[in-house]
């Protein structure tokens, strides 16, 4: 099934912002992110919807995709740090 999303992976799985953006097929924004100071995964984790709009990510689908991916990474980060 082509519509099945790729299995979620934590932020540590991505070595760079470019690699992360390519993985969620948003590679076209790599340069914009780098040029505006979001050049590490730690910096990217702080991005808000407002930031995305300011960076010129105006398409709602792309905003949704990026914010969902960030949310996913944060959830996994929290789960990873809390022992079950």
């Amino acid at each position: 099934n082509l519509l099945v999303e790729h299995s979620p992976v934590g932020s540590s799985a991505y070595r760079s912002v470019g690699e992360w953006l390519e993985a969620i097929k948003m590679g076209r924004y790599t340069e914009i992110f780098m040029e505006n100071g979001y050049s590490s995964m730690d910096a990217v984790a702080q991005v808000t919807l407002e930031d995305l709009r300011r960076l010129g990510v105006t398409l709602v689908g792309h905003q949704k995709k990026i914010m969902n991916s960030l949310q996913e990474m944060k959830v996994q980060l929290v789960n990873g740090m809390v022992p079950l």
């Binding site: 082509l2 519509l3 099945v4 398409l59 709602v60 689908g61 905003q63 949704k64 990026i66 969902n68």
Partner: protein, 80 residues
């Protein structure tokens, strides 16, 4: 994962070939599809004019369906 709602929607429009591109671009539910305009279709890669027209019309119908429901809730509100 069950079949995506956007795939179902596009199938009813006889445009299922765009489903993967819709989802890849983050248009993976009908709420976000309601906001589709020309720039979104450009990014998704819908270039055939009558396909674009068909999607624009369907987006308009999604919004109208919303308003109908909103109207229904309004009339069901208890009277003071």
């Amino acid at each position: 994962m069950c079949t995506n709602i956007v795939y179902e929607w596009l199938k009813t429009l006889q445009l299922p070939q765009y489903a993967e591109s819709f989802v890849d671009n983050g248009y993976d539910d009908l709420e976000v599809c309601k906001q589709i305009g020309d720039p979104d279709l450009d990014a998704i890669g819908v270039v055939v004019p009558h396909h674009r027209r068909r999607i624009h019309e369907a987006v308009r119908r999604l919004k109208e369906a919303d308003e109908t429901v909103a109207g229904l809730y309004f009339t069901l509100e208890p009277q003071p």
